[in-house]
Symmetry: C2
Subunit: 135 residues, 2 copies
C-alpha cells in the first residue's frame, strides 16, 4: 500500500462516521453502508476503519464491551459509557492529563499517556431511573 488510491467506499465510510455523534461499531457502519453500496463487504469496512485510524483520521475505541467503536471526532475529548443501555457519549471536558504526572511518581518507566473513560447512567437512563423510583 505504497501510495493511497481513492475509493468511494472509504469516502462513504468516513462520511458516515462524521455524520454520527454516537460511536458506531464496524457492523453498524456495514449495515448503513449497504443501503448505498449493497455489495460492500464487511472486510472492506474493517480494512478501511483500520486504515483511517492508522492515518489518524478517526479513532478506534476499546471501551471494554467486547466490540470496537469508531469515532470521527479526533479532537481532544473523553467518552462516557452508559452501564444501562451501552450508549457511548462524548464528554467535552477539560484535559485530565495531569494524572500522567501523578502516575509517574515513583515509577521508573515513561508515562506517555492515559486511556480514560467514564461510566454510569446516561441522561436518558438517568431520567428513567428517577421516574421509576418516584413511582
Amino acid at each position: 500500500m505504497a501510495t493511497l488510491k481513492h475509493s468511494k467506499q472509504r469516502d462513504a465510510i468516513l462520511n458516515f462516521l462524521m455524520s454520527r455523534k454516537d460511536h458506531p461499531t464496524a457492523d453498524v457502519v456495514y449495515s448503513h453502508l449497504r443501503e448505498e453500496y449493497p455489495n460492500i463487504s464487511l472486510g472492506t469496512v474493517y480494512r478501511n476503519l483500520t486504515l483511517l485510524s492508522e492515518l489518524g483520521q478517526i479513532k478506534r475505541l476499546h471501551i471494554g464491551d467486547g466490540v470496537d467503536h469508531f469515532d470521527a471526532d479526533t479532537s481532544q475529548h473523553y467518552h462516557f459509557l452508559c452501564s444501562e443501555c451501552g450508549a457511548v457519549i462524548d464528554l467535552k471536558m477539560e484535559t485530565i492529563d495531569h494524572i500522567n504526572q501523578l502516575a509517574g511518581v515513583g515509577f521508573d518507566g515513561q508515562i506517555a499517556g492515559n486511556i480514560t473513560y467514564f461510566y454510569g447512567l446516561c441522561p436518558k437512563c438517568s431520567a428513567k431511573s428517577g421516574q421509576q423510583e418516584g413511582a
Copy 2:
C-alpha cells in the same frame, strides 16, 4: 448455582493469580494450572475467572489489547500498559476519582466512576531504548 461448592480447581486458579504480580490472561492461567491439573479444561478456567470476578475476589481488566487480563489484587490501584512489550504493571498512586467531578460538569447523566489505564514504556523497555539511543 444457588449454593457454592468447593473445587480444587477454583482454589488453584485463585492461588495462582494471588502468586503473580503481573496480570495473566486466561490462557496463561490455563497453561500453568495444567502442570498441577493436567486435565483441567480451558472452560473451567474461564468459568471460574468469571465467577471469581463476579464474587469480587479478582478483577477482570480490559486493557484494549484484545485479551482479558485478571488481577487478584482488588485494592484501589491503577494499571500501566507497556506499548513495547505489552507488560501490565501496577501503579500505586493516589486516587484520581476527582476526575469524575470534572467529567460531570455540564453532563446530565450520572457519573458512577472511571476506567483509567496508563501507557508508555515500562522500566525495562525504557532502559533498553535509552541504551540504543546512546549507542
